[in-house]
Structure formats: C-alpha cells, structure tokens
C-alpha cells in the first residue's frame, strides 16, 4: 500500500504538469483570449474530466500507464458525471448543485485505490 501511495504522489506531480500543459495549450490556441478565461477553461476541463477520471481509473494503475489513464479517464469521468447529473436532476436536485459530483468521484477513486488489494504484478504496460 505504501508503494501504491508513493506512486500516486509521484503521479500527482505529472498531473500538475498536465494542468500546466492545458493552460499553455489553451493560450496557444485561443491566443486572442484573456488569461483569466483561459485559466478558467483549463481548470474546468481539469476538474470535471481529468482529475476524477484519473482517480477512478487509478484502480487499474498496475495495468495502464499514466498517459493511458489520463486519456481514458476523460470518457470515464464524462459518462459518470453525465449520467449522474441526469438522474440527480430527475430526482429533484437542481443541476447547479451537481458541480460537486467531480469532487465526489475524486474522493471515491482515492478510497477505492486505498482499499484495493494489489495483485502480485505492478508493472505498467
């Protein structure tokens, strides 16, 4: 478990670099846009799709490398958030409160990672 958490902490540094990359990418593409809007947009992408997806897919960290987990984390997060928001809305919880869903997913992913029992082989593909 200690190795798993050390690996996770190391990868959080890469996550920070991913966020920095997003900011630079958005500014390079949307060069006419203000830095404030660029930062907000990059943060939205990061908070809604990349962070929750990363922590959920971390369950398979021994099978998938960092790049693959970041990429597949996006659709994972998108479908969970989209479906959850749909059902929560129908059950009467106003959509403006659904912004907390990504945070719940991040925490859930962390908990699952911590309680998951590792198999023997931790080698990434």
């Amino acid at each position: 478990m200690k190795d798993k958490l050390i690996k996770l902490v190391n990868e959080l540094k890469y996550l920070a670099l991913v966020f920095l990359f997003l900011v630079i990418l958005f500014k390079a593409v949307f060069y006419k846009e203000s830095i404030t809007i660029v930062l907000k947009s990059a943060w939205g992408l990061f908070y809604m799709f990349l962070l929750p997806g990363f922590f959920i897919v971390y369950y398979w960290h021994d099978k998938l490398d960092f790049i693959e987990r970041i990429i597949i984390g996006f659709p994972t997060s998108a479908v969970i958030i989209g479906v959850s928001s749909y059902y929560l809305g129908i059950s009467g919880i106003h959509v403006k409160y659904h912004v907390i869903i990504p945070l719940i997913l991040i925490l859930a992913g962390l908990v699952i990672t911590i309680i998951k029992k590792d198999g023997g082989n931790n080698e990434s593909t």
Binding site: F74, A78, I90
Partner: protein
C-alpha cells in the same frame, strides 16, 4: 518510472496532434476566442437546438421536461433528446463561468480530440510506432465535410462516438480485472449519447466474436461473460433513459427507413469515399497490406475500424442518417490502415534510427495535413443584432405576453427564435407573399409556431402510456390564422436580402408606428413594436 523517459517520442507526437487538432477545430471555428458575446460557431439550426436543450436544463434544474416555450406552451413534454452532452455542457458552464453556448461548443471539440486519443491508445497497444504514424490522419476530422459535425450540430452522435471508441478500447482490455464495469459505463455512454452507437457496439461484439470463432474455432467464454456483464451494467445504468427512449424516439423514429444513397441525402454534408482523396489511396494500400502481410489480423485495432467502415454503409439496409453519420469519423477509424503503410515501409527499409524516422514522418504528416485544404469556418448564423433583440425579448416580454416574428431571411433557421424565451410565432414568406403583392399590411394571416418536434412532442399519460401532442393537436393549433394585432409585441427586420421584402417590411413598420403603436426596441437591423390596441393596431 519517469513517464517522460519511457514515452518521450509519444509525448512529442501527442502534444503536436492535440495542439493541431484544437487549433484547426475549436481555434479556427471560434476565431481563437473562448468567450463570445453571442453563440459563435453555430452554423445550423441543430447546433442551436442542442444548446437550447442545455439552456432548459440550466433554467429548470433538470431534464424531466422541456421548457414550455420550445413546445408551443405545453409544459409536460418529456425531455427525450440524449441527455449526456447537455448535462456535461451545463456543468462545464457552471464550473468555468462561461456562457453555456461557449461551453458547449468548446466541449464538443474537446470530445472529438479525446475520441481520437482513445483510438490512439487502441493502436498503441499493438505498436506505438504504428500509433504515432496513424493518428495524423485524424486531423481530417476538422476539414471540409468532416468538420460539419461541429458547426452543424451533429453533437449527440459526436459525444456517443467518444464512448463507442472507448468501448472498443475496453474490449481490447478484457484481460483486466473488473473491466466489465468500465465497459458498462462506456456502453451507457453510447445508449444515453446516441442509441445507434449502442446498436453498433452490440453489432461489433457479435462480429468480433463470430470472426474469432470462425477462424480459431474457439468460443472465448470467459471474455463473453465479461462482455455480458458489461451489457447488464449498461442496461442498469441507463434504465430510466431506455424507458424514455422506447416511448419517445424509438416509437416515433426507431423503425428502419428506406434505402438512401449518401450522395442523395440532403440533411447533412455526408462524406463520400472520394472525399478521402489521396489519403484514401494510402488507406486502401494499408488495408491490402493488412490482409496480405499482417500476422495478427484479429486484433481490435483492425477489426473495429473494419466493422465501423462497413456500418457506415448501413444506409443501404435502412439505417439512413444513423449509418451516414458514422462516416464523419472515418479519419479516425481508417487511420490505422493509413499508418500501416508508413509503418511497413520503415520496417522494410533496414535503418537504425527508426524511432527518429517515425517521429519525423508523424510530425511531417501533422504539419502537412494541418495546412492541407485549410479553410476558415468561423462565424455564426446568430448575428449580433438579433442576439441583442432576443436578449431584450427574454428580459422584457413577460409571462403571458405573446411575441410575433415577422418574416425575415435572417430568421429562417428558426431554432434561434427560442432565445426569446417565449413561444415563437413566425410569419412565413409563403403566407406573406399575397400581402406583399397587394402591398397591404397583413391583419389576419396564417402563421407558424416554431417548436421542437423530434418525437412528436411526447407526454406521459401514465407509467407505461405516452401521448403525443404533435399527433393529437390539430394542424391549426401549430399553424393558426391570427390577427397580428392580437400579439403584444412584433419583431420586424428593417434589413432584408431582397429589396422588395425590405421595402415591404419598412412599409409595415411605418404603418404600425403611424397607428400609435410603441417602438420599444430599435437597432440597425430590427425593431420591436409594442401593440397598443389589440383590437385594431393598424
């Protein structure tokens, strides 16, 4: 292990393709600005409809029913358009603070880029050099007819395509523990994103396992069990939407249609094989090379694109636009055969620096395909003058007051009328023509209520019984003959593309103003007149 050391050449190519894709797609269309003063990059009615569904969710807090003003005032219409994208857009808007129309179109482009990256991962599992040589072709997603999907609003198909490709990724990972859960989530995305992609997912499962069985005589029971679990999860996660879908979209439009050729379809700009141009020849060579030289032919990386290519011709068995829209992702699906040509060439020529050569070719392809057939698609059919008018209407026309839109060429994409947030009555040119000929102000005239009517405007009668306002209300309800003086406000465009209608509209404005009505809004393009005497305003 340092991710950069191991994957540096991949990271270089990925950064390049992501930058190029975002620049050519969202950057190009949105004029390199994220936040606009009006819906920008929206070039057809369908794009506006998707944004309007999302606006309804933001307004009401849920997607139980549509907002009444998009359905002729009915407040019980069951929301049935696929819900994933509008919910993601609303949340993205809340989190970023962006206007919803900016958030949604940006999200659409990001989803396309993620879809191509997931496919990159599928190819990469076979060979990472093959992946970096293949993925540049995906830049065609933002060129010519393939780019129609963003600006014309074919968005539910697009969002679901990310999920079907992710599903294919999960099929290639059936050795992973609990992968059925991820598979179930991605299949849910196809169901709640665009149901046809779920049909194709199931079709691919049958195709894939049937081919493996035919060629190897092995029925992979354990893998089939995982797939079965995935389908069950998907059914559970999407159960409520499946119930809605059955009684709405399926019952009204779920049947197979007649055969239609791609070149005859008029709804969208459908890509043809000839639109692949010289790249199509390379793809064909790659496919032939796959048949002749590739040893591991049964890999998902080859079978999935083959299946989706076949599926894109299902218009010949009645799938109509549900098959034709698959073609928009040919640049992704067929990229593996494109890359295979360069991959085999590099392996054939015995050189030492294969990594450098592969990266060089990949980057060269990215640059050349970026500049190839470069076009600027920026703009919007929502001009700033009408946007200003709609914002005025939304803020000043009270509940219970009625708004009439006089005929205008600028309002022919009628979805934009929904931004007035009031039931839109519009006078059509065919009904106005006799009055133009007579040079008379129309009093009693047939008009049209603009509405969303994809599934005949369904409503719940009971738990398993739905009615359809679109079928049950008489035609006269949606095309009433009314006195223009019975409205509270009338919007008339002073500017038209033809002199006769422009002069006519200005005559009508003049007559209404002479009769004592109040000019409450005026900009260089449009006026809004408040009717003072509903009995006799002209």
């Amino acid at each position: 292990m340092n991710v950069f050391n191991k994957n540096l050449y991949e990271i270089i190519v990925l950064i390049s393709i992501i930058y190029a894709a975002l620049f050519l797609g969202a950057g190009n269309t949105l004029d390199h600005i994220i936040e606009h003063d009006r819906p920008y990059g929206y070039l057809a009615s369908d794009a506006f409809w998707h944004e309007i569904y999302a606006e309804g969710i933001k307004e009401t807090g849920s997607y139980k029913t549509y907002v009444p003003y998009i359905e002729g005032g009915f407040d019980d219409v069951v929301a049935n358009n696929p819900p994933v994208l509008p919910h993601l857009a609303v949340m993205f808007s809340f989190v970023t603070g962006l206007n919803l129309f900016d958030a949604e179109i940006l999200l659409v482009y990001l989803i396309a880029i993620v879809a191509l990256l997931v496919f990159f991962m599928i190819i990469r599992r076979t060979n990472s050099f093959l992946a970096i040589l293949s993925i540049p072709l995906a830049l065609l997603l933002f060129k010519d007819k393939f780019s129609t999907v963003y600006t014309w609003g074919i968005w539910t198909y697009l969002s679901s395509t990310m999920f079907i490709i992710s599903f294919a990724w999960s099929i290639d990972r059936l050795d992973m523990k609990k992968i059925s859960l991820l598979m179930g989530l991605f299949l849910t995305g196809t169901i709640i994103g665009y149901f046809s992609n779920f049909i194709y997912s199931v079709g691919f499962i049958i195709f894939y396992f049937a081919i493996i069985f035919l060629l190897t005589h092995k029925l992979q029971i354990s893998k089939l069990k995982e797939v079965g679990k995935g389908i069950i999860y998907a059914m559970l996660f999407s159960s409520y939407y499946l119930y809605i879908f059955y009684f709405t979209l399926y019952k009204t439009f779920g049947q197979l249609r007649g055969i239609i050729k791609a070149s005859e379809f008029t709804g969208y700009r459908i890509p043809l094989i000839t639109d692949l141009k010289w790249m199509g020849i390379i793809i064909l060579v790659g496919f032939l090379s796959y048949l002749v030289f590739t040893k591991k032919k049964l890999r998902i990386v080859y079978l999935f694109p083959i299946f989706m290519f076949i599926a894109s011709f299902a218009n010949y068995i009645g799938f109509e636009k549900r098959a034709l829209t698959v073609r928009y992702f040919w640049p992704v699906y067929l990229s593996v055969f494109f890359g295979l040509v360069f991959f085999m060439l590099i392996n054939f020529i015995k050189i030492k620096q294969k990594t450098l050569i592969a990266v060089g070719i990949s980057l060269g392809l990215i640059v050349s395909l970026s500049f190839y057939d470069y076009n600027n698609y920026s703009g919007s059919i929502m001009d700033p003058y009408h946007w200003e008018a709609f914002k005025w209407i939304g803020s000043n026309v009270n509940e219970g007051e009625e708004m009439l839109y006089f005929y205008s060429y600028a309002l022919e994409q009628t979805a934009i009328l929904m931004y007035g947030r009031t039931i839109p009555y519009i006078i059509r040119i065919k009904d106005l023509s006799p009055f133009i000929e007579a040079w008379a102000v129309p009093r009693n005239i047939t008009m049209k209520i603009v509405k969303e009517a994809v599934a005949y405007i369904p409503y719940k009668k009971g738990p398993f019984s739905f009615g359809y306002h679109g079928k049950e209300t008489p035609k006269e309800f949606w095309n009433p003959n009314r006195d223009i003086c019975s409205f509270d406000y009338i919007l008339i465009d002073k500017v038209q593309n033809e002199k006769v209608t422009q002069d006519y509209n200005q005559m009508v404005i003049g007559k209404l103003m002479e009769s004592g009505n109040e000019l409450v809004f005026n900009n260089p393009f449009s006026v809004i007149i408040k009717i003072q005497d509903k009995g006799d305003c002209v």
